[in-house]
Structures are given as structure tokens and as C-alpha cells.
């Protein structure tokens, strides 16, 4: 293990480490702690310039209910779910199928298709922006959550296929061969043999995509105009424009916007990190 385990160090070093850990964590999370504190401040603190000290009054309930009542925040959050959930489902379906095809069959263009999915994943969004916008307009899905979902599914499929293909390829191939000898159709192999085995990988992909899509801001600004379909990231930006000096309300909105991915992260941390660090240990 590197660095040397702290248990083996001298008592002082061990003690120092245990003190340094929480201190450094507080410093590291200072920006986030500041938003949390701001979200429970009263307007008086902000007018008096008390932005960073202890709040002089606690307005937790008032601020958060103000966000719910006076802004379309509820709508924004719902929209984010309308975008995120179908995207996760659609991506998982498409990429499991494609990952299965690339992971179990040997055919001529296998590598080309695989590299296409991997490469497309790194493309700058800007080169897709105008054609995707025009396409969405033509299909009558502009300014709707559906239009955003369609694009996200397509784009995320690149990464998810890469991930699932690698996972499926590492499954024992004998299982598939055995099923084939028994006369199972290709669909049955996918459905009965492979699908039950890829569940952990699907969970990792789903968690990761949920977070990516929830936090997407660029495509929301390109494909959505009005509050009726605006996800929470774009909504926050417009709230910030309307409440220029009311940081406490924007902060409360920010905390709300950040909640779902944070909750998912803490619940499914293992899957999340497994998805994110694919390739960090081998190759």
C-alpha cells in the first residue's frame, strides 16, 4: 500500500493526520458549505454584507418555501426528471443491445463500429449544436423535454455502449457457446443468458448517466426556451438573472437542484465510481 499506512507511523503523525483530515475537508467543501449557509440567511444579512459569517437569523423554512411558491422551481425539477428518467431508460436499452452485439460477435466492422461509438463520445458539442437544433425543430420536438431526451439518448449511447461492451466481453464466453449448442436463438442468448449478468454494469451506467443528464446545461439552453420544459440547471440560471441580489433564494434553489444527483451518489456510490473509473486500473 502506498503511501505508508498511517497506523505504522508515529503517534504524533497519526494524531496530526486525524486532525488534518476534517480540517482539510471543511476547507475543501467551503464553497458548498457557504451555499448551504446562504440558503438559510435572511435578506437582512445580505443587505448588511454578512455574506460569509454566521447567519443572524435562520430562515430555512421561509427561504425554501419562497423558492417553491414564488418561482417555477417545482416545474424545473419535474422537467429535469422528465428529461433524465426517459434518457436513462432509453440509453440503457440501446446500449445494452449494442454492447451485446459488439461484445459477443466477431464480424468485420466490429472494431470500426466500436471506435465510432467511443470517438463520437469525445466530440465537442458545438459541432452538433446547429444540425441537432434544426433536426429537433423539423421533428416538431423543439422546446419540449422529448426533443432533449432524444438527443441525450443518442449521445449517451456512445459512452454506455463502450462501457457495456467491455463488460459483456469479459463475461465467460463458454456460457454463450453452451446456450447456442442447446439451440437457443440469438435473442434468447441475449435475453436469458447475458441480460441477467450485466445488471451491475447497467446500474453503474444508469447512475452515471442520471448525473450527467441532470447536470446538463448546454443542451437545455440550446433546445429549450420556456419554463414549461426547462430543466433545473437552465432554470437556476434564469432565477439568478431575476433575483440578482437575493443570493439566499438562488442558494436555496441551487441546493434543491443539486439534491437528486447527490442522493443518488450517496446511495449508489460503488456503482457510480465503478462507472466513472472504467479503465483507470487496467490497460
Amino acid at each position: 500500500m502506498f503511501p505508508t499506512p498511517i497506523e505504522k507511523a508515529s503517534g504524533t503523525t497519526r494524531w496530526l493526520y486525524k486532525v488534518a483530515l476534517p480540517i482539510s475537508m471543511v476547507l475543501w467543501l467551503l464553497p458548498i458549505i457557504a451555499v448551504m449557509l446562504t440558503s438559510i440567511r435572511g435578506q437582512a444579512d445580505l443587505t448588511n454584507g454578512n455574506y460569509w459569517g454566521m447567519p443572524s437569523e435562520w430562515m430555512l423554512i421561509e427561504n425554501y418555501s419562497a423558492v417553491f411558491q414564488n418561482t417555477p422551481m417545482v416545474q424545473y425539477v419535474l422537467n429535469s426528471f422528465y428529461v433524465t428518467i426517459p434518457t436513462v431508460i432509453g440509453t440503457v436499452v440501446l446500449s445494452t443491445l449494442a454492447g451485446f452485439a459488439l461484445g459477443t460477435y466477431r464480424f468485420k466492422l466490429n472494431m470500426v463500429v466500436f471506435l465510432l461509438f467511443v470517438g463520437g463520445n469525445f466530440v465537442p458539442f458545438q459541432i452538433l449544436m446547429i444540425p441537432v437544433r434544426e433536426l429537433t425543430l423539423k421533428m416538431g420536438m423543439y422546446d419540449s423535454t422529448m426533443g432533449l431526451v432524444m438527443f441525450h439518448i443518442a449521445f449517451q449511447t456512445g459512452f454506455a455502449t463502450f462501457f457495456l461492451r467491455n463488460f459483456i466481453r469479459d463475461l465467460p464466453y463458454e456460457l454463450i457457446e453452451a446456450a447456442r449448442i442447446e439451440g437457443a436463438s440469438e435473442w434468447q442468448i441475449f435475453h436469458r443468458v447475458v441480460l441477467p449478468l450485466v445488471r451491475p454494469a447497467v446500474a453503474a451506467v444508469a447512475v452515471l448517466i442520471f448525473t450527467f443528464i441532470w447536470n446538463d446545461y448546454f443542451w437545455a439552453t440550446v433546445l429549450i426556451q420556456g419554463d414549461h420544459a426547462m430543466p433545473v440547471t437552465g432554470g437556476l440560471k434564469s432565477l439568478n438573472g431575476q433575483w440578482v441580489a437575493q443570493w439566499q433564494l438562488v442558494s436555496a434553489g441551487s441546493i434543491l437542484a443539486a439534491m437528486p444527483p447527490v442522493i443518488i451518489f450517496f446511495l449508489l456510490q460503488k456503482q457510480f465510481i465503478a462507472g466513472l473509473t472504467v479503465g483507470a486500473t487496467k490497460g
Binding site: 425543430l137 423543439y142 422546446d143 426556451q225 420556456g226 434564469s238 438573472g241 440578482v244 441580489a245
Partner: protein
């Protein structure tokens, strides 16, 4: 024969049916998403429907910022019958692309050349009128009358007095001018007024229409005068870090004493606790002696898309919104000025001042970002902001703007 008659009758009934269905409804796409404009439009629709039984108006309200992009989509794809937009050059791309209906006939029938005279030039392109203006508001210098009184400063009438007042304020540790240039459009207001007062209305219009190079001596003269305020630091500190609303507290607290703004700034000033007696309003002072005064007065308009389905009723709606009665009512709610000169004059202190100022104006500019083309406006306002922060870069900035002008207006 019998059979034929029947089909004929059926056909007539059908076409009549569709006709009635169309005749009944007009759709209005509007960016009136803020409370006051929303209320004004709701009331307008109600009174229009009462005056025109059989016609109903379906209103689609869009987010104010999002509207600027979505209008491009619905004009080409699924056009409503009436849309909101702005006068001046902002209207030009849609007129050029054939997306707005020529409504000169409505102007003739209603005699609008007379009643809407002040805004007629900004609605006219290729000798035709393309929409109806229904509201505008004045720009000018709002100042803290109580601070002026305390320091014994009189309302400046010309440039020398304005500079002297600024000097005195600065000596008393008060920033002469509040401004927030993070969103750069606020600098456009300053440039407009400097140019209008130094070179006059026609030159300003020619410049924003791309007919004069930015390297022209007369443009340099504008910046020579502007230097009087920029170089001694008469604008509040760190103005590029703030939006216009974020600069307002400085004015309210008395850390800054003047604010060149549109009349929409009065409402938040009052909300923040300033009394009407504390706020003064003055026309932007004279710079070149004897030059007739022209003003900034951004005008909001309605238009009929070329692809509208129910143009007949849409025309009735335009005629209605052009009337003195409709405009008086709307602008009472909006807190702005009616364009129709037969309208009742407002009773609000600042609107009254604006009304008399605008009615005697030599000409009305729409504001830099509406008069200049989009590309020029963006580059121009960036340039003005840079100048206000780094006045020594003036020549390089103007050279750059000239490059943009050449490209944008070719």
C-alpha cells in the same frame, strides 16, 4: 342534379364552417411574461374581444429572453396571427426574409401617419409599414435630488455643468454615476446619448445604419468628451462586475448620485425605499451648443406574420392596439408612454416629464442594440465597455469596430 346540389351545399357549409372557425380565433404570441406587461395584455385582449364580438384571442406567453430565439422558429414554422417585437433595425431581418406582413393599409385606413407620427420612421422600411408601435419609454438621467441639494449642486444643463457636478460629487466621496456593465447593453445608452448630443440625430442614425466608419473624426469627438467622465473615474467602481439592478443599491444608498437609465428603473428605486422627492429626472444635458435634442425611446410593437392564418382579424387587432383608447389603458398598466399622440397624458411624475420631453424631441433613437445590426451591436457594446474600463485603448477599439462594421454591413 339533386345530388350535385347537395354536394354543393355541403361544400359551402364546410367552407363556411372553416371560415367561421378561422374568423373566430386569432393567436397572439407575446413575450409579456413580466407581471405588468402580462396584465396589460390581458386587459387589452378583454377589451378587444368586447369591442369585436365573435373574435377570441388566444394568448401564448413566452419567457422574455427565450422569445428572442423562439420567434425565429414560429415565424418560419407554425406562425401565429399576431406577434410582439421591437421597432428599428431589430425588425429588419424579419422584413427582409419576408416573414412580416406589410400593414401599410392599416396605417392608411386609421390615419396612423398622424397619430403614431413619432414612431413612424422606425416602423417604415422600403416605404412600407410593417407593424404597430404601442408603447415606449424615455431614457434620461435620474439623480438624487436630496444629495444635489445638500451639496448645493444645481441640475446640470450642459456638459461643463455636468462635469463640474461630477467633480464635486467625487470630492465628496460619492460616485457621480451608477452603472452596471456586466450585461454590456447599459453602455449602449451612454454611447447613444454622447453621440446624439455631440453629433446629432442624423449622424447617429447613419452610424448605427453602418454608413459611417467608426474611425471617423466625429466618432473620435464623442470619445474626447466621454473621456471627461471616464478618465477621472466618475463611474462607480467595478461596474463590470454588476448587472444594472446590482448597481441600483449604490444609487439608493447614496453612494452614487446619478443614473442614466430607462424609466423602468423608477419602479425598483421606489420599491427600495426612495421617495419621489428624492429622485430627480433630467434630460441628458446639451454638449454641442444649439444642436437639436434627440432621445432614446425604445419602442415595443406588434406585427402580423406573413404566414398567419387569420390576417383579416389580425388587422382588426392591430387597428385596435393603435387606438388612443387602447394605448392609454395599456400604458397605465405598463407604467410607460403611449405612442398614439391622442392618448391621455400620464399623471405619474416621471412619465409626465418623459412625455413632454419625447413629444418635443428632434428624433427618437431605438437604443444602440436595436438600431445597429445584431453583430455590430454586440461588438459595439463590448467595445464601449472596454473603453469605459481601459480608456487608453480607444484607438484599437475603434479600429476593431470598423472591421466589424465593414463585415456586418457589406
Amino acid at each position: 342534379m339533386k345530388f350535385k346540389l347537395k354536394t354543393l351545399a355541403l361544400g359551402a357549409a364546410l367552407s363556411l364552417g372553416t371560415l367561421v372557425a378561422h374568423a373566430g380565433v386569432i393567436t397572439l404570441n407575446t413575450d409579456a411574461s413580466d407581471p405588468a406587461p402580462k396584465a396589460a395584455f390581458e386587459a387589452l385582449v378583454k377589451s378587444f374581444e368586447a369591442a369585436n364580438p365573435g373574435i377570441t384571442v388566444k394568448v401564448n406567453t413566452f419567457d422574455h429572453e427565450g422569445y428572442k430565439t423562439s420567434i425565429r422558429n414560429f415565424l418560419t414554422a407554425d406562425a401565429p396571427d399576431v406577434v410582439n417585437w421591437y421597432a428599428g433595425n431589430r425588425m429588419a431581418p424579419f422584413v427582409d426574409a419576408g416573414l412580416f406582413e406589410d400593414v401599410s393599409d392599416v396605417w392608411k385606413a386609421e390615419g396612423l401617419e398622424k397619430t403614431l407620427a413619432s414612431a413612424a420612421p422606425s416602423m417604415t422600411q422600403n416605404g412600407k409599414q410593417w407593424g404597430i408601435p404601442y408603447t415606449y419609454y424615455q431614457w434620461g438621467v435620474y439623480y438624487r435630488k436630496d444629495i444635489f441639494d445638500k451639496l448645493g449642486i444645481a441640475e446640470p444643463k450642459n456638459w461643463e455643468q455636468l462635469v463640474a457636478a461630477s467633480k464635486k460629487l467625487k470630492e465628496n466621496k460619492i460616485a457621480p454615476f451608477a452603472i452596471g456593465t456586466k450585461a454590456t447593453w447599459t453602455t449602449g445608452g451612454w454611447f447613444d446619448y454622447m453621440n446624439l448630443r455631440v453629433n446629432g440625430y442624423q449622424f447617429h442614425m447613419d452610424l448605427t445604419a453602418g454608413k459611417v466608419p467608426y474611425t471617423d473624426k466625429r466618432v473620435a469627438a464623442v470619445f474626447d468628451k466621454w473621456d471627461d467622465l471616464v478618465k477621472p473615474g466618475y463611474y462607480m467602481d467595478n461596474h463590470a462586475s454588476y448587472q444594472w439592478q446590482e448597481a441600483l443599491p449604490a444609487f439608493v444608498k447614496g453612494d452614487a448620485a446619478m443614473y442614466l437609465m430607462g424609466n423602468f428603473a423608477v419602479a425598483p428605486m421606489r420599491e427600495a425605499g426612495l421617495k419621489d422627492e428624492q429622485i430627480g429626472f433630467m434630460q441628458f444635458p446639451e454638449i454641442t451648443k444649439g444642436l437639436p435634442m434627440a432621445e432614446d425611446a425604445p419602442t415595443d410593437t406588434v406585427h402580423i406574420p406573413a404566414k398567419a392564418k387569420n390576417k383579416a382579424d389580425a388587422r382588426k387587432f392591430l387597428a385596435y392596439i393603435a387606438s388612443a383608447k387602447a394605448q392609454s389603458e395599456m400604458n397605465k398598466t405598463l407604467g410607460q408612454l403611449p405612442v398614439n399622440n391622442q392618448s391621455a397624458s400620464p399623471d405619474d411624475k416621471f412619465l409626465k416629464a418623459g412625455f413632454s420631453m419625447l413629444s418635443s424631441a428632434k428624433g427618437l433613437a431605438q437604443f444602440y442594440d436595436r438600431d445597429a445590426s445584431a453583430e455590430m451591436a454586440k461588438a459595439g457594446m463590448d467595445g464601449f465597455q472596454e473603453y469605459m474600463l481601459k480608456p487608453e485603448r480607444r484607438d484599437a477599439i475603434l479600429k476593431r469596430l470598423e472591421t466589424v462594421r465593414k463585415r456586418a454591413y457589406k
